[in-house]
């Protein structure tokens, strides 16, 4: 027992505690300085550039400073950087096999940052999920959906799949489908819709709104009413315009038909002959009831 205790004491005594303390201090100092520099950079860029650029530069500054301190700490701990780099080559293969997904996501993340298909603050649609980009990180992109859900999407998915950026350009076109009855005058309804767009303050004057006849539907003639709105007024524009269209067509007595089915007797489309047959018994019952 004494031998074990003595060996342990000798082993502990041989460790250069001062060097390890310096390693810890270097790492801690590196973390603090990197955080401070990153925040300073974010403050500097905050009012001058977009959130995306601010976050990107903040991260670059943080990792650059922290990596320098990590290398210094490793050197202090007695690891030679050249040996480490050699080991890293072997490690890369081993780690690469072990963490293919993570590596793929990290590389995809780099492509996303360079290609910039979207920025922090943009509204994007990925695989049917629509949300505001709140973070582009090493492995994944974080979205906040309109109903306030937090969605994490791996970077690799974003590289492989179709991404729709809904706030890339300042204006958007809205296409409303308006169905009118077959007996209505299409030209008149088109003029009514265009005058509605002219009066609306949400609808842009240029590019000009237009109305197309798109289909002879089962119960209506379908029109496409297209107009442009500022990108931040898409929901308001769609809702107010649909309400205005309904009110206008009601006021002008233009029928918006609901789907219905007509039954015809034959090719001549003659009306059914309806004959009223007096039912005496039924009449009696009815009288009794009365």
């Amino acid at each position: 027992m004494d031998d074990i205790g003595g060996a342990l004491a000798a082993e502990l005594g041989s460790i250069d505690w001062g060097a390890w303390l310096r390693v810890v201090v270097l790492l801690a100092l590196g973390f603090v300085l990197a955080t401070a520099a990153s925040r300073g950079m974010a403050r500097l860029l905050g009012s001058r550039s977009s959130r995306h650029v601010t976050v990107l530069f903040g991260r670059v500054v943080f990792y650059a400073i922290f990596v320098i301190f990590i290398i210094a700490a490793l050197r202090e701990a007695g690891f030679a950087p050249d040996v480490l780099l050699g080991a890293a080559g072997i490690l890369t293969v081993a780690i690469g096999f072990a963490s293919q997904t993570s590596a793929s996501n990290m590389i995809s993340g780099l492509f996303l940052l360079v290609e910039k298909p979207f920025e922090i603050g943009n509204f994007i649609e990925v695989d049917g999920t629509i949300g505001e980009v709140i973070g582009i990180d090493m492995l994944s992109v974080k979205l906040r959906t309109a109903d306030n859900l937090y969605v994490r999407i791996p970077n690799e998915t974003l590289i492989k799949t179709r991404v729709i950026n809904r706030s890339r350009f300042p204006i958007r076109r809205l296409d409303l489908t308006v169905g009118i009855a077959y007996r209505e005058d299409i030209r008149r309804v088109q003029q009514l819709l265009l005058s509605l767009a002219e009066e609306s303050t949400v609808c842009l004057e240029e590019p000009k709104p237009f109305v197309l006849t798109t289909a002879f539907g089962p119960s209506s003639v379908d029109l496409q009413f297209s107009f442009w709105v500022p990108a931040d007024k898409v929901l308001e524009g769609r809702s107010t315009m649909m309400e205005a269209v309904k009110a206008l067509l009601d006021r002008e007595q233009v029928e918006i038909p609901f789907p219905h089915t007509s039954v015809y007797a034959g090719s001549a489309s003659q009306p059914f002959r309806i004959e009223l047959i007096r039912d005496d018994n039924r009449q009696e019952v009815t009288d009794d009831e009365r």
Binding site: F169, R173, T201, L204, E205, E206, P207, W228, P230
Partner: protein, 267 residues
């Protein structure tokens, strides 16, 4: 309590309200009420797009408030003072001027057209002239100016008769008159269908007849319309008369100097 009868409203004129009083204003298609209470200011406003033929700014002090359906905003009183002041401001985006009928300027000729653009109203209160809010005096329409739907900017739109005679321009308290001199130095006639007036770069003045004026804007078209340049004069035009400055330009760039080629002047 007695009601002060209808009087004309005025820019940069100090009104004083006692606690409990409400001042009602009617100008353009906007009606608004400013109320002073012991600890707060209240502003209510509504718009009626049908009432555009009003030519005067009417105001009245009373203790009557509008119905609850009118939009209302409350503000903490910045100080004990009951002073109330209204200042105009130019639009916060460029304004697209579009003549009802296109105007052609022959080669080598120039003309000055007078356009009247909508102003924004700023409500300032108290000794410190603290701004409570700012609102356009009519609902402005927006339009897109640019070569494509990808490259350009949003502007307010102002259909105009592009009057060449100043006397024909209606003078209303909610419109600022800007003389625009257009020089066509090309070899071909210039068809003026629309152009973008840099309203945020224009300061605002009032003359002795209570009309709002901005300095003259000169647009020079040398080679092609996309290369037109624009200059904002440092002084007011002589026809404006004696003026006092009411508002600085919202943005200072492009003022007083020949700007670089602006490819969005003529859309």
């Amino acid at each position: 309590m007695e009601t002060v009868p209808n009087e004309s409203g005025a820019w940069n004129h100090t009104y004083n309200l006692a606690s409990g009083q409400t001042q009602k204003h009617e100008l353009s298609e906007t009606r608004f009420w400013v109320t002073l209470l012991d600890n707060e200011w209240q502003v209510r406003w509504e718009r009626n797009a049908g009432e555009t033929d009003r030519t005067e700014w009417r105001q009245q002090v009373s203790h009557v408030l509008p119905g609850s359906e009118v939009k209302q905003h409350r503000f903490i009183r910045p100080d004990e003072d009951g002073d109330l002041l209204f200042m105009p401001a130019m639009a916060d985006r460029p304004t697209m001027i579009r003549p009802y009928q296109p105007l052609t300027i022959p080669a080598g000729r120039e003309c000055t057209i007078y356009v009247a653009t909508l102003v924004w109203l700023r409500i300032l209160v108290g000794r410190t002239r603290t701004q409570l809010m700012e609102l356009p005096l009519a609902e402005p329409s927006l339009t897109w100016v640019g070569r494509t739907t990808m490259d350009g900017e949003l502007c307010y739109t102002a259909p105009t008769y592009a009057r060449l005679v100043l006397d024909a321009v209606p003078k209303r308290p909610w419109r600022a008159i800007s003389p625009v001199r257009i020089c066509n130095r090309r070899q071909e006639p210039l068809l003026l269908e629309r152009f973008s007036l840099p309203t945020p770069s224009l300061p605002l003045y009032r003359n002795e007849r209570d009309q709002l004026w901005t300095p003259q804007v000169t647009v020079v078209c040398e080679t092609e319309m996309a290369q037109a340049s624009l200059r904002v004069a440092r002084r007011l035009p002589a026809e404006a008369g004696e003026c006092e400055k009411l508002a600085e330009a919202r943005s200072w760039h492009d003022r007083g100097v020949l700007t670089k080629a602006l490819d969005r002047i003529f859309g």
